[in-house]
Symmetry: C2
Amino acid sequence: MLKSYSELLKKIEQEIHKNPYQGSPQNLYDPLNYILGLGGKRIRPVLALMGCELYSGNLEKAIPSALTVEVFHNFSLIHDDIMDKAPVRRGKPTVHEKWDTNIAILSGDLMLVKAYEMLQKSEQNHLPELFSVFNKTAAEVCDGQQMDMNFETQTNVTEKEYLEMIRLKTSVLLGCSLQMGAIVADASIEEAQKIYNLGVNMGIGFQLMDDYLDAFGTPELVGKLPGGDILANKKTIMVIKAMETEKGKMQGLFNDEKIDDTHKIEEVKTLFIKTGSDVYLKSLSERYFDLASQNLKDLKVDESKKSDLNELLVYLHNRSF
Amino acid sequence: MLKSYSELLKKIEQEIHKNPYQGSPQNLYDPLNYILGLGGKRIRPVLALMGCELYSGNLEKAIPSALTVEVFHNFSLIHDDIMDKAPVRRGKPTVHEKWDTNIAILSGDLMLVKAYEMLQKSEQNHLPELFSVFNKTAAEVCDGQQMDMNFETQTNVTEKEYLEMIRLKTSVLLGCSLQMGAIVADASIEEAQKIYNLGVNMGIGFQLMDDYLDAFGTPELVGKLPGGDILANKKTIMVIKAMETEKGKMQGLFNDEKIDDTHKIEEVKTLFIKTGSDVYLKSLSERYFDLASQNLKDLKVDESKKSDLNELLVYLHNRSF
């Protein structure tokens, strides 16, 4: 982990654990502390702090924004896990498994309200702008999740549609995090928009690389068994690309109910390599990281201020090569 | 329906239907318009307008608050119906029945975000106060729903616990509606608090009467078949009261799996009457309506301004006598 990142992460962890959620009935509040306690990279709140640092803002002012995006992200994990019927999250039972689906629905709802309660702690002069950016993003994340669910039964998903889905489901919240940090540091509207774009491009590049690693990564690098997307018949960019030239074989593997998991993963990966889909995906990811680097270069702040975010971009970009 | 109420209701209906929700994917947005189109008394947004009227505010300024509480209420209906496994709402299929549970979870989430998006349209000088009142209320409504669910498997529910549950689940949102209307009309903090209390007391009185009507009302008055709470073994005040003197018989009826629905309803009602639980409930409801009337008298506004809200209190109070 990068040094600058580690320091900001430490700050975030302190803030998260300083005031655990308390309330009654307790079985509604326990899941909030449980999911927040599962850890994770905390990339969204760290980005909020980095956005603030970049414009020489007081980091304390960015704490409400940082916690808002992290609490919101965790709300979305609770509800996504119900929808995806996922039993495990970060090696532990998901909320609907540990408690039940009703508690998971309602504690997720409460957590979304708590995200807004955190936003409310922002300085009054920034509140309208932060509220507007966050509302727009929160709705878009819902749009992205619905697109992802719709793709499960949609036979033809285009590259454009897939990129739009990951932009909404994953990337806009990264852009929003940076932007909120910039707003509390009194960055101009133009700069706040540029740093938002940086986050969105970084998010798309990151998610594409995540898709690559889900197939070709090692368990150590990915933190889970590879091949999950293949077994779930996810229409990633590699699938979309492979379908262009090997539609019959790809669909055959998708519909083969007799093939065992290990063989299915191996055969699909072989098809990805044969069709050049793995190389295509990596070059697409690289293109988005390049856009993000360009966005960073274009920001009108002192170059020395850019090093933390630049290091993070390089780190995220390189984790698979 | 009261004339004053009808006029405000008409205004609300216009506002709701002026800008139907639009977005993509469409299957995420359709449920929002569907549930808002099912109608209902719209008591919460009407209360927001009445709170504004009372303090001689410009009604237009109360529209964002009115729509916020109505959209929030409808979000809670979508999610409550999933949790309660309810197939029908206002004579139509519930969202999870008409679409599916995943769409109901996610469109509910989106609707909660849309409630906040509506709140954001409030005048900037009132935003922090409105945001604070609404956040507190939204969290409390979740608390109340969880208490209600916990009561299903809790054997001993006290009167105090039950009253706290309906205060949170139903009443605080009525108080919040009136208070938000008062805030946009620049009422003082003290007055806004008093009108909040009025709404909470009215809400508890109303919910208690609803419990009475669920057992003793006619289908015409209630809009649904009576006896639903009895069949669901809901621990209403009448059950709690009847348990004090006829615990054995009450539990016998709750646990009797052979008795048919019509007989169960009749026998439980007979027990309610025998133990005086029906009279007790009505007097308790009356006490809360009296408190609400007193709250109204205590408001420091011209008496002529109070007539709409007073008429509403009398109307709600009398609908069962």
